[in-house]
Symmetry: C4
Subunit: 241 residues, 4 copies
Amino acid sequence: MTAGVADPTSLQELVIANRILADQGVVDAFGHVSIRHPEAAGEYVISRSLGPELVTEADLQRFTLVGEQVGGDTRPAYAERAIHGAAYEARPEVMAVCHNHAPSVIPFTVTGAPLRPIFHMAAPIGTDIPVWDISDEFGDTDMLVRTMEQGRSLARTLGPKRVALMRGHGCVVAGRTLREVVMTCVYLEQNARLQLQAMPLGDVRYLSLGEVERTTSNLLDSLSSERAWNTWKARAGFRDG
Amino acid sequence: MTAGVADPTSLQELVIANRILADQGVVDAFGHVSIRHPEAAGEYVISRSLGPELVTEADLQRFTLVGEQVGGDTRPAYAERAIHGAAYEARPEVMAVCHNHAPSVIPFTVTGAPLRPIFHMAAPIGTDIPVWDISDEFGDTDMLVRTMEQGRSLARTLGPKRVALMRGHGCVVAGRTLREVVMTCVYLEQNARLQLQAMPLGDVRYLSLGEVERTTSNLLDSLSSERAWNTWKARAGFRDG
Amino acid sequence: MTAGVADPTSLQELVIANRILADQGVVDAFGHVSIRHPEAAGEYVISRSLGPELVTEADLQRFTLVGEQVGGDTRPAYAERAIHGAAYEARPEVMAVCHNHAPSVIPFTVTGAPLRPIFHMAAPIGTDIPVWDISDEFGDTDMLVRTMEQGRSLARTLGPKRVALMRGHGCVVAGRTLREVVMTCVYLEQNARLQLQAMPLGDVRYLSLGEVERTTSNLLDSLSSERAWNTWKARAGFRDG
Amino acid sequence: MTAGVADPTSLQELVIANRILADQGVVDAFGHVSIRHPEAAGEYVISRSLGPELVTEADLQRFTLVGEQVGGDTRPAYAERAIHGAAYEARPEVMAVCHNHAPSVIPFTVTGAPLRPIFHMAAPIGTDIPVWDISDEFGDTDMLVRTMEQGRSLARTLGPKRVALMRGHGCVVAGRTLREVVMTCVYLEQNARLQLQAMPLGDVRYLSLGEVERTTSNLLDSLSSERAWNTWKARAGFRDG
């Protein structure tokens, strides 16, 4: 029984999510993804401090929402786990969270240029993505979200949305399922790359609010999510099941 | 006898086309390619809902041109198969169709900047590529071509051409052979990428209409098509045949 | 005795050159590289019509400089072999030729923006790279160099240089050794990519003529060439020798 | 006892650093990384002239700070080893040095556009990166740092910093540990790529001086450095320890 979970399925999925995010270029040696504990809503599960592509079930740890370790695992934890805890604390419906430095997203965190959905696959990123600047409340820092106070500040900027950017740093993505979070992360990066290419060509027509709502609902609740997960899982080296 | 086809060659080629399109970056977990049924002109063959890189012969399904499944295979189908059916319906000479979200193409679907052949390998994309906007006729949707009515609208925009772009979504490519469609898809993506790079340098000289016609005829009817197919097939992991 | 060559070393190197050029992204399914026949200066050796990454010694063919096949090999040949023959014909010192569609080079063939050496590794491309436009002499064509007349026109534009661009098509690279040609091709593509990135930043300071001369001489005649060849050879899958 | 080192750990790490830098795209067939000799502060250890991805412990050589070979190994050495020697000579605290032609860095060496930290991972590159132009002191050269005089000129431009760019050539990175140097190299390239993308979007907000100082200190002295090294090491093919 790893991380105190009776049914190992959700833990296996979390390992797969780590590998997919690495394989798809969303995370490199840094970035992390968590799930709310399936049997204890006041806790979450996340890897110990480790590059996502190396994560196995044996690396998963369990934390209270304020970031205290549960279960006596003393291996070093991610310094920025407050990003996760604060999101779960503020949003009871959130069941998975990812923090990453997806490369194409960075330019949108430091220029004021708004990141908006340019094609249907990125609809889940939403039409009005906020940017959180750690220096607004905390002045000069090492840029990391190290305290619950900082995590809660970020969670306030995120509000009820799926995505918030972090100035000079990356982003946080929160969702109702792990697959929703993974899919949003992959297409957030891709949308940013396409938007960088499209903007010099002229005025960009983004998805309308109505299109975003309808498309999101379809992408996240349907066969699409399953198809993406299975394809990316195979590409990340998981060949069965 | 899979998908009701006596000679398996065309089905094997369709599987290879799926793999090539994934390996060449034309499709990711989404996008699909079909052939007109070789023995039943009123039907087409396409994979069940599955990432193209995972497709095998056992995943192929058979549909009437209006999208009704033939043969009792109850596994979920692609939601957007009307793109294929409507193209076959409108164009008797079309024997293969691909719908994809090739990344570099997207910026040309949302900015009004025309996509045009910048080098000879992309001549088959044609000199005047139309852009179909689903909202023109159907207002706010989930961006997917879900009905024959929508498919036929797209087919009207495609007209007699090989390529039509789809606003905020991707493109459709139709041709007389599966290899023609695959080759056009690969170089459509590459042409878009090169055009994005060239436009900031100054006025771009595109291929003339006469060059496009002569080059297309040569590329699609000659050794070139065979050479490309065999190289890409090997790269996609098919080592013999 | 393949292609009528007693010592197989040069043929093995030609095979390796094909693989390196594919692995380094200089050629895809198209493009070709040749050597002057080591024992018959009036002939050259080049693969039959085949994707470069698939070429083996058994695929090599032998041609007179005007493109007539020597030795009775009836397998289809590259349509554009006149590029090679005309370069060997015009330049007795040229011992190797490559024709390719290296992607980043294309924008410089259609915009008038001059391609110039931005860093030392690309010094061999030279400071004044000509662009040949097939339509100047031959009007609307299928863009291919199909005749010796066309090949000779291109060779005249190339003159005594190492590189000439071909409008809407690609380039030709000629040199005194096969390794010189391969190295020039790899860094021509890389230089083009870097120049595309640098130009929006402001005025670019290119290498001076004196720097180009000194650097070229060093790169092509020294350990550098050997180091590059061995590294790229290993990367292309050749692990010994 | 290779390169005269009793404890082989540091040599194994140097081999791994070579492979990581190649795998992460910082070096291609060219570029090199060294460590100060762990038992002889007046010497350094670096590979013989070889592509970094091919380096093994048997390829390591030992040099005095002025570049004279120690120990009788007569295999050809890197021509530009004065970059390393001069940095060790000028900076007693420097324990590792890398010279490379990381592609995205090149545009910043020839345009006057300053390279600055756009996100936290690149904080160690510093806020004021100097550019050294070999022609300022030495006129037209083959661009290589061939003499101690040239190496010392570069070291003066580097001063107490971690990074100096080299016009039309690449950069030098010096640090207190090998991991610091590798991490700085990887994120220098990534920062350059992101900055190239961000600049067209509008005014870029870079990290403040205070943020750079705090972030650098954290990245280089903490778990982060270990996490990155282990992830990149695995990606480069080292699967244990």
